[in-house]
Amino acid sequence: MKTTNKELSPVQQLLEKKYNSGFLNRSEKIIPAVLFLMAAVSVLTTLGIVLTLIFETITFFGDVSIVEFFTAKEWYPFSGTDPVYGIWPLVLGTLKITIIASLFAIPIGLAVALYLSEYASARTRKIMKPILEVLAGVPTIVYGFFALTFITPVLRGIFPSLEMFNAISPGIVVGIMIIPTIVSLSEDALSSVPESVRQGALALGSTKWETASKVIFPAALSGILASIVLGVSRAIGETMIVSIAAGSTPSASLDLTTSLQTMTSYIVQVTTGDAGFGTTIYYSIYSVGFTLFIFTLLMNILAQFISKRFREEY
């Protein structure tokens, strides 16, 4: 047979040429650097955000004492006589909405994700997922009016003591809004658990639920947590639904049936409103934005911690 190196097949000839011509093209070296620069963009974005927020926040704290900001229990920046800037009511408003939305969306979102990935037929899944993804893009103003003109009246029919603007209705609708995010990303995480693992569990006589809850779910946990964090972050950051359906009354009361204001809706109120440029009120949005930023930061640190603890490799 062809045993000497002289008789090379066409493939070998071509390869030999390649070895001699230097194997690596320069792109192998450049690409990591280019990719690193791309990764740097998101770091620069954070840096940009922090810088944008911090200068104006400092200006704001020139006018308002930082102690008042964190300890005062009222937020009445527009009061002509004695404005009070205590962030607590806005934080509380955000918390109310976020908690209600999470309580509503996380169980339902995960239930739907589990249904789609573990129970539903491939066809149902194929139909449902794109629909949910479309709904994730519905502008939030639409959800806002949905809350105000549909959910609120329905709820008021059941609980007459509920006010026109309250925490529950927008909370639920924010929940509805983030369900597609949670479902879609969780379902991805669940269905990327290898089929062989699923079979291993089923072959031991476990039901679908046991397979899903004891094997698949834990295996997909880090992806699921990521979807929840993203969903909850969107709830925290949601603006329009809250502006429309929750009113804009900063309130330090724990009552869920009355009007409230969140950090985001305050920012939008001021950016779209008529407050004077350069006034304390104007700068206050940066301080609120900064608080909001810290808020999401803390939540993410928590989520990272949780996800690190529960990550399972497969």
Partner: protein
Amino acid sequence: MALTAVNTTKNNQSVQNEELFVYNTKNLNLWYGEHHALKNINLGIKEREVTAIIGPSGCGKSTYIKTLNRMIDLVPGVKTTGQIEYRDRDIFSKDFLVEELRTRVGMVFQKPNPFPKSIYENIAFGLKIHGIKNKQIITETVEKSLRGAALWDEVKDRIHEPAYGLSGGQQQRLCIARCLALEPDVILMDEPTSALDPVSTLKVEELIQELKEKYSIIIVTHNMQQAARISDKTAFFLNGEVVEFNSTDTIFNNPADSRTDDYISGRFG
């Protein structure tokens, strides 16, 4: 030796001389969509025997064994006709829950598929889902199963570490151990030793010999020697059909069908 194994069948069954089938397959046909993968299979599998299924790649061995515990249900677009009885119960009937079937019939797969959990949890899983919560029983069973799969000595110091840190062979033995933990009636094995080294293989083969005292075992294997060594009966599959099913002795030494002979002696192609 194969025949003595049959004779060791315990006499807790009333009629001893009647053929006692754990599995009885009657006119089974199976299609993957258009592809006719199993053709008119008839096989009676006896209790407390080791039945080997041999045949060339793609002949339908895995398909058949997956049908026995209805794992095949997971493949969309599969159609079956005919009947399979497990201890006289139609496995396709509504009354017979797949979960029960699969608890009674353990399965070891071709590719190792441990759960992304610790070694311990992998084995405890089956017990836990079946409602066994007693920690002591679980821990004992974990050890017993790991010993049974000839894995205990290698992993005893790290049973709480992730199973994915094990080598391929170790993972497969873990899967066997996992299945043993439920002490099933029948164990289906799809080339369980193809990822094991001879030493472990030997251990598992010994184990199989031991297990058949209590369990019925159906094993798919490519290893002719293995089939000859451990099985009482052998079925030779070809193109989705059972060419020959007989005692292992007969199949290997005196096959009725020339194709069997060809395959066994390696002339087949």
